[in-house]
Amino acid sequence: MRLTNVSFRYTRRGPWVLREVGLDLRPGEIVEVTGRNGAGKSTLLKMLAGALRPTTGSVTGRPAVVGYAPETFPVEQPFTVAAYLAAMARIRGVRDGLGDLPERLGMTALLGQPLRDLSKGSAHKVGLAQALLPRPGLLILDEPFAGLDTHTMAELPVIIAEVAAASGIVVVSDHQGGLRGVPSVRPVSVAGHAVAAGRHVSTSIVEVLVESTRAQEVAAKLRAEGYEARVRGGTTEPPPDEPTLTTEPPPDEPTLTTEPAATTEPTLTIEPPRGGPTRGEPPLDEPVPTEPKPPSQDPPSTAAGRPGDSYPTAALPQAARPAPGPSGSVADAVREGER
């Protein structure tokens, strides 16, 4: 499948969402589309799915059977899960039923429920099931891991790998890091109206200190901005005495590992959206939002964290390859941020 000089805008005089995009997708390939919110990821996915036509350029070689799971499955439909999936199967001409999808996606108990009654995670499973029904040659998943339970979170990468193994093309937009365990994922970043394929995306971890009671709120705000943010629990191992900064140049780009002050409090880990900021792009150099610290409380020390500190810490991995370091909140965060 090939995109050749594809440009797109929604209205004749509107701003360009994508410009001069060229992209080759090969059978059996798993592609992870990354980029900040509003960068054009969903537009690219819709174009790949055939729901949008390029304003200029061409999309050729699209497989005949396309499965598309939207970021938010529309539950405002007057069907039960089973009736909905049966209707989708009829439209697609699928004759062998749902197969083992309900079991694998952990949705057997949902089949008799009305779509309107589903929780966000359950609705998401229905969206995934309808996309996987026809054994697609092109599977497009928009934030497929959002809201999934642990079982489905673990099973979905296996299913994705199976689709790829059957020579299907899988394109995934993922802010949740659900593809970390899947080998041979090809990153494609969308930024500045352009699509960069196969680039190794440099990432960073920014450590943000907030009051424990506000950690979830801050994390939610950062997620809304398109960052990966995790609030981490306290560490049990003694932290390093001083923050250290280690730079270990990988074969193609430098790696920055940050090991700031350790803490025994929860840690908020923020990662930039995958493929959003890449090395050398201005957005990465922008100041990272930090919560102001109330003067009445002890500020987080840059030295060793103290038990009882009420400031969680967060870390930002700067590059793809963290240096080995002592186990601890920041070191772990760096490893989790590894690409």
Partner: protein
Amino acid sequence: MSGRSAAGAAIFLAGFKLAAYARSHRLFQPLIGLIVMLGIFYAVAVPAGAETSSYADSAGLLIVVFAWAARGLLDTEPAEQRLVSMTAAGSAGREVIAGLVAAAAVNAGLAAVAVGTPLLYGFAVTPGPAVILQGAALHALGALVGTALGALTSRPVFPSPATSMLALFGGYVGLLLLSATPAGRVLVPVLGWMRAAGDGTLTASFAAFAVPTVLWSAAALTAYALLRRTRP
């Protein structure tokens, strides 16, 4: 196993849209509007010989009900479901066609009610087959215009419900007013076919009304399909 022909996928998708429309009870809105208007049309029994004129008025005035029904059907599916339907049907074009087919099917049913009701209650004397055929043809034209107008005012084109309703009713009033002008002859000559039915010249001039109506509807539906290319 999977795989379905283009026509088969569009037909099954149209069925899915009709099922969603019926289960959502959105059909009641235009149906109630239709019943109210038929009640007004036939509150007084239509005397013998005036059936064609009565049918012509009904077909012209019910365009707004047909448009309302088409818009309601096309708005039943959430935006994300339309994207899913496009991939399920195999292409964006099939989803658009399926929606229009479903809307046309609903309007065909409403038009059948509009043609059949006065035969049971409304006409003083049951007219001959020729008059009933003329009535059916006029309502088919009205349903076609209504389907096109409803499509052009549906959510993908007008995301705001208020703007959409304004466009629907404004568009219908505009069509009526324009049909009173010379330009109406090449648009949708609603008032023209009403007058011709009253004059008894409808049969002779039917093509002069049908051709521009069909052409206008085709142009409107083409515009809708083109707009949907960037408004999935």
